[in-house]
Symmetry: C2
Subunit: 414 residues, 2 copies
Amino acid sequence: MKGFQKLTFTYEALQTWFDALQVKRCRDITIPLSDAYNQVLAEDVIAQEDLPRFDRSAVDGYAVRADDTKGASQTKPLLFRFTESEELVDTAHREAKQVWTGNPIPKGANAVIMLENTKKVDSKIEVWTQAAPHDNVMRRGEDLKKGEVAVPVGTRLKPYHLALLSAVGNSEVKVVEKPKIAILATGNELAKTGEERGEKQIWESNRVMIAGMCCELDAEPLDLGIAKDNVDEIAEAIMLGLKIADAVITTGGTSVGGLDLVPEAVNKVGKPGILVHGIAMRPAMPTALAVLEGKPVMVLSGNPVAAIAGFEVFARPLICKLLGMPREESRPVVKAVMAKKIATALGKKNFVRVRVIQKNDELIAEPISAKGSGNLTTMTRANGFVIVAENREGLTEGEKVTVHLFGEVETVKP
Amino acid sequence: MKGFQKLTFTYEALQTWFDALQVKRCRDITIPLSDAYNQVLAEDVIAQEDLPRFDRSAVDGYAVRADDTKGASQTKPLLFRFTESEELVDTAHREAKQVWTGNPIPKGANAVIMLENTKKVDSKIEVWTQAAPHDNVMRRGEDLKKGEVAVPVGTRLKPYHLALLSAVGNSEVKVVEKPKIAILATGNELAKTGEERGEKQIWESNRVMIAGMCCELDAEPLDLGIAKDNVDEIAEAIMLGLKIADAVITTGGTSVGGLDLVPEAVNKVGKPGILVHGIAMRPAMPTALAVLEGKPVMVLSGNPVAAIAGFEVFARPLICKLLGMPREESRPVVKAVMAKKIATALGKKNFVRVRVIQKNDELIAEPISAKGSGNLTTMTRANGFVIVAENREGLTEGEKVTVHLFGEVETVKP
């Protein structure tokens, strides 16, 4: 029997690998805030002052004492007199100071009447509406108090995080440098697009795919090219990868056949080498996990869908750790109803490609059938994975499942 | 009354603007496939040959005639003899040719027995399992047939699209150039982070946010800086934007007050200028849409959450059109249950910030309350929008709503 002697459950494999690795976060780097979109924050950013730092007008209008507006209405307007002062001083009379959105509220005032609820009459101003204290006022510290964490360490910076960091005065930000992932494809059957191709060769397609998956997580892919089915050539490429990158990913050459040379090459490079080989998942069973020079090496299947599944289970949490994120970043998930039953392999974690569509306000998951994991169109036709647990033998028709989306959900007219 | 005389519904505003614009797709550019992640395809890419282009082995093993394996089992193995030939010729005897994953299937063979279901015995090979025709064979054209569209024009290229394009032989790809979006902030109250700040000034934060939202859609933001509340200065910046970019976005200076000078500046630059000003939405009512020199100009509110809502409704579909996408790219959406009731403004499209959490296998949307649209932490605490239609006055507790996600959904232990 030349199959794997023993398959390791995905979570055990990950645990073994991470225990051996002691993954350290990549180094910090300070960059302009304007370059920081989608990068990961390397430290808590604390508000150095209240935000806003003074009571501000939320609208264009007139700052007043709320009490003075009591009883004002469109039919019974109240007359106020203008002041240019920084403070409403004349408490005997109704005073109003013109303010624009964002202007500080003058001392003594505690509300703003919107311009459209007022009318200039000669040198006075009619107020048509009654205000409660703090109406149309953004109060000091209302958004953030001095000393509060504006954005916590490990946050993937989205547009509104950038805005908040800017609003508390940061022109630069300390982020985690993008992890560098070196990618090697292996196999005599592979030819580079744009070059010559032999009769029995096919165009190599995994490198650009794995690189794209790295970009999705904002890691930086480095290309190690294609190695022939030769232990020394593979080992040399892996050594180069270890020199230039934080992690190495290979594809192909990892089943149990005679030409499956990548695990051999990994072990030739150094210790501890391969830690796990043969995972209880489908596809991607022949995935292997290794550590060399303290760095992670992932040996993925050459079949593209298997390589994707292997990446999802092992590379995604690894990259999140290298980025210092507090937990694995998940894809968007939705609940959907299985359109038909499917069989899966008991004892393995099954990745089932599905196409989720919205129909009659219901989400339906249609399994994309394919014999093997070699067909790329099963990925371009699908928009998500259902992950079927090891203790299941399939999914039933009508079953509610969790779909991990990697593409858009289309609405289909009934 | 200084309010807007008339508010325009969002879809009417968009229609008016697009009709006047006749949006053209940005120009094409040919780039290496390895740089094409997340870019938008500018033409249908057709498979120039079948994929795979020959019957391939999906596994490591032995290619055989399926008929020859009839009756084989672990207890009753059948003996095959090796051949090195490209063709199984000796139909009188059982022949097997060793193949590795991806190898062409020799002529005459129609199935592959996996290595683990065989055993070498001297110069022969024991086969332990029976095969049906095409078992473990990826058939020619099974993934794509010659002449089929591999990836259609207008597709945002995800990792598996890149793989498919590579698999059909493309080392380069024609994509749509990233739309350039020039961004201008306006307002005397705004100071640049990293520079000096006056007593009454606040740190400007919209430019980096709008730039981030452009990056989310893979458009290229260009910074026009901050203009003072001065018609000429604003007009000059807009003219520069029109020269260097495909579209201009401004923030601030667009309510109905005396210092709301951006619409005035836009109309000073040229014709037709402002087409719509005052949208039936909340926040972002003071948004204005304009056309200058045939290019789109968006005048967004200075309040950050209003600017975000305005961007979602107008800039997102515009950028998708500039990219030549067949329809607007949507954020991931989920159904969730409102945790409590909220009131919204009748006659306006309301953008309600919510935090969606998963609890007991149910998605719950908690409204993030805020008086105004000036508070950025309402965005960093939220992870999605509920868009409440114009004919509603609120949402009820327990109502099932559609949430447009802009952040991750957290699972909360009950």
